[in-house]
Every structure is written in C-alpha cells, then in structure tokens.
C-alpha cells in the first residue's frame, strides 16, 4: 500500500531540466564564471528562473539590472524556458 502511495506521489512530481546560463560583463566578473548550470522545473518562466537564480546566487541581487536572452533572443518575464535552451544574462549593454 505504501509503495503505491509513494508511486502516486512521485507521479505528481515536476520534471526537471538542466540549463546552461551564459554570463557576460559585470555579471561574469562578480560570479567569476563565464557560464553556470542550473536545474529548473520544466518548463520554467523567465520570472521564475530569476527567482531561482537570485536564491542560488544572492550576489546577483546587487546587479539585478539584466535582461534575459533565450537562444540569442531577448525574453520577457512571461516567456518560457524549455529543455536544451541556452540562456544568457545580459547586463546593461555598452557597445559602440
């Protein structure tokens, strides 16, 4: 009986995905890496992703002005991150 109860609990569990997050500029410097790997529930909104990354890397909250790109395109908070997507954190740009 317990076995079938546990089985049904796990069936309700969210599935997870591992995503790669590219870092640039000031963010790459403060995190001291060019990329990160994170596990997110699948699928995951950009808004939710931001919550998760601030939890995992609290230093980022001081540099919270960044855009998120999914597969080399700017994304809104409402956009969805899917398995195998490449995410990038884009701090304020200063080209030109």
């Amino acid at each position: 009986m317990w076995k079938s109860l546990l089985k049904s609990i796990f069936a309700e569990t969210l599935s997870f995905m591992r995503v790669k997050i590219l870092l640039f500029g000031i963010i790459a410097e403060i995190i001291d890496h060019n990329s990160l790997s994170m596990e997110l529930e699948q699928p995951c909104s950009v808004a939710r992703f931001k919550e998760q990354i601030f939890l995992k890397y609290p230093k980022l909250k001081n540099y919270a002005t960044f855009a998120v790109a999914i597969n080399e395109e700017y994304a809104e908070d409402s956009n969805t991150i899917c398995n195998n997507d490449t995410i990038a954190l884009i701090p304020p740009v200063s080209g030109g």
Binding site: E72, P91, S94, G95, G96
Partner: protein
C-alpha cells in the same frame, strides 16, 4: 543579404571595406559614423577600452537593426562593423556606413543605427584607468 554587411571582429576594422561595400552608382550620398576610443571619461584619463560580446547574439541584433533600417529609410546598403578585444586610444570600435540616393535618408539611417546599437546589441565596454577598471553602465 547583399545589401547588409555585419561584422564583429577581433581584427582592426576597415573604413575602406565599409565604404566599398555600401558604395553604389545609384547612390548620391554615403554617411559614415566612426566611433573612436577617446582618452577621457567624466574628467578621468582612460588608458584603453576593452570590448567583449555575446557574439552570436550581437551579430543577430546587428542584423535586426540593419533590416529595420532598410525597411524604415530610403537607403540602399548598410554596413555595421564592431570590434572586439582591447582597443587603444584612437582605435575604432564601430563603423556604420549607409548609402542612399539622397543624403537626408543616409544621415537619419546612420544615426538610427548607432543609437539602436547602443541600446540593444550585447556588447560591453570596460574602461581601463591607471588605478583600475570599470564596466560602462549607461547608454550615452
């Protein structure tokens, strides 16, 4: 697309290359914007500028700007070239070249291009001073 030339390069940019690309016998005017590394910022002496990029997205975004310009302005060709890496005072980080039948469109398109590039293209510049380095934050 033969009317658009986009480049992100660790080698020195070429004014001739940009000019030659947009030059066309149907065009009466070519507008060139050349960005240069200046030796000061906010009253402080700058030694050099370091440019880094999210290369594939930077190229995509420059293409988006170029396509927008061809749609919005009566111009023929556009080149947007940006440098990457360490640049010295007087070096050229960006060239925008636009050709058009008439000069008004060329001027407007060129200004639009550099203004948009500074807002959207994922390239970052870091100022190097004698006493440290600072990532430039704003859109001037």
């Amino acid at each position: 697309m033969s009317n658009i030339s986009i480049k992100l390069s660790t080698s020195k940019l070429s004014l001739d290359e940009c000019y030659d690309f947009v030059d066309d016998p149907t065009c009466g005017g070519i507008d060139l914007f050349v960005g240069t590394v200046r030796n000061h910022t906010k009253g402080k002496k700058v030694e050099k500028l370091e440019f880094s990029a999210y290369a594939p997205m930077a190229i995509k975004e420059m293409h988006v700007i170029a396509a927008k310009i061809l749609e919005k302005f009566d111009v023929l060709k556009i080149a947007i070239h940006h440098a990457e890496g360490m640049l010295q005072i007087g070096d050229i980080p960006v060239i925008i070249a636009v050709s058009a039948s008439h000069r008004a469109a060329a001027f407007e398109a060129c200004q639009f291009a550099i203004d948009r590039l500074k807002e959207t293209v994922p390239i970052w510049k870091k100022e190097h001073f004698s006493d440290g380095e600072v990532w430039v934050n704003a859109h001037p």
